[in-house]
Symmetry: C2
């Protein structure tokens, strides 16, 4: 008992290290790719030829796999909080390797995303054991799950067609929204594909089933979309801000989708439901705090000299920097005030 | 079943309205008393002659009583979140009646205090039923509960003797720390007094028991200290900041004290313990956010003109105000930057 818990503990911590690092490695890869061609944030795909990006992808897959296996060895109450540590790992690595400053509010946002996600997962309704592709197909074509899929597609379309050209480069929720919503669908269809593969390996071939191929197609297209938008988010915003928001939104939406599919709220006490709501509010608060600390380094340096009257400059994370006495303005400030902060 | 829940619901909402308003009424009373004599924040007790302050006290007692009764009619999962609404009530009333600006971060802090406290209460360990003064006395003189009392007294002494003269007027945690720590002891001793009164009324007089009088003395001195420091906090800081921090700290410490006294963690699952920890981290985060938004209006107006080079001024809640073109400096700014914000 103690030994299996220890294996689960090790796997969960390992998975956090891998997933946390994968964000940094991918970002490094995106930066390199962006230096020689169109940036991912502007629709470029040069990163596909960048080995560093592929190493990041590989690291992520290993991390997700270790996390998946950890749940087999140790209870969720141990694995989930440890899994949320990936946020801390990526924030620390981003601080040292990418020189991203997170600030007090940023740290607070990370902590809130971790705590909120943990509460949600701990009090989420359970899932039935699924033993056939047909069974999961039945669950997937329930009217209310179809409604969830339809709403997800509608929101994603609005985000991609309307919001992305307008706010994609300034509002972090556009790219991460697409990733997370698509992600919740990915998890559900990947489950079906996993069952199909398992059954086929056990001798009950699912290759002739149309459903298997539908799930495989959905999985493949969801994964690709999710990756493209995660790259855009990573390329445009601070890694230390992207990773906690992505983690929290992905976790919340996956649990929401799973609750609609499995409808296991019957076994839930009122206390669990209120706890999940509280966790969701916490996650939302953390996301809002982090959104307020988004990366300022995209502003052109020319802006500094365009504001000659500045005596103090407020970093977007709330820190305030004073101009040195009798010094030239440019080069003195590490950050610049966002115009929309002014009254 | 539905009807008793409805009564509990009504009582809980009513209690929130009463408790939330009581903060505002008391603050108004303190302001009036401060206008004609020494302020409570500076050690004055003129508010004892101010009818408005007594109305506030009375409102608070009614509110606390309604909250207590609500738990008899409806489950904690319903009463606790509704009780936390008092924070919202006092924030809204403070906005309109006291013209206190809370700002985005302030609202976030309130929400986090509410959500965190709710999670803590929902997953806190249960309490045994206590049926005699001797029984609660036995629990109170356990070594680890005595250690809690000793630590509480030590921390309060440090806060009152060392911190209060130095940081009392600038750091909100000094006054509220004293209130909340003393408050957790109040709750425990009031329980004992309640049992003594109940038993005496039932014919088993507890008047001859020394323990009854010890509990009564402790209760009385704790309540008075708690009230004095709550008045100091209310008189010195924004009501909308005092009420959520007080609520969250009081709730957390009371549950902590009760957990030490009743040691009912045995029946707790790991999931509950992790949830309580998460709730505690959420409360702490909310407190930190609110602490950053403390009232700036205590700074002397002379400071404004002492800083002629200011182009922008940062409100302590994070808002930034620009100086009007070609205008005199004084009167232009609603807030002033705290010196310790500068690098």
């Amino acid at each position: 008992m103690f030994e299996t818990n220890l294996i689960g503990f090790g796997l969960a911590v390992g998975s956090s290290v891998f997933i946390g690092s994968s964000f940094i490695i991918k970002k490094k890869g995106l930066q390199r790719a962006g230096a020689s061609g169109a940036r991912a944030g502007s629709g470029g795909y040069g990163y596909l030829q960048e080995p560093l990006w592929w190493i990041g992808m590989f690291t992520m897959v290993i991390g997700e796999f270790a996390n998946f296996v950890a749940y087999m060895y140790a209870p969720a109450v141990l694995v989930t909080p440890l899994g949320a540590l990936s946020i801390i790992v990526s924030a620390i690595l981003a601080h040292f390797l990418l020189k991203e400053k997170l600030g007090k509010l940023g740290i607070l946002g990370c902590v809130l995303c971790m705590v909120g996600s943990t509460i949600i997962v701990l009090h989420a309704p359970g899932e039935h054991d699924i033993s056939s592709v047909d069974q999961i197909w039945e669950l997937a074509i329930q009217p209310d799950f179809l409604l969830y899929i339809a709403s997800a597609v509608a929101v994603v379309l609005v985000l991609v067609l309307y919001c992305e050209p307008r706010y994609g480069q300034t509002n972090i929720m556009v790219y991460i929204g697409v990733c997370s919503i698509i992600g919740s669908v990915t998890v559900m269809s990947i489950k079906a594909v996993g069952i199909a593969i398992k059954l086929t390996l056990e001798g009950y071939s699912q290759v002739a089933h149309l459903q298997s191929w539908i799930f495989a197609t959905v999985s493949a297209s969801c994964i690709i979309t999710q990756l493209i938008y995660l790259n855009k988010a990573l390329d445009t915003f601070n890694t230390a801000v992207v990773s906690p928001i992505y983690y929290a939104m992905f976790t919340s939406l996956t649990i929401f989708a799973s609750a609609i599919m499995f409808k296991d709220w019957a076994g839930e006490g009122a206390s669990d439901i209120v706890s999940v709501l509280c966790g969701f509010i916490t996650v939302l608060s953390g996301t809002m705090v982090l959104h307020g600390t988004r990366e300022p380094d995209k502003l052109p340096s020319a802006d500094y000299t365009a504001l000659p009257q500045i005596s103090w400059v407020v970093h977007s994370n709330g820190e305030i920097w004073k101009q040195k006495e009798n010094d030239e303005l440019h080069g003195e400030f590490v950050a610049i005030i966002h115009q929309d902060h002014f009254k």
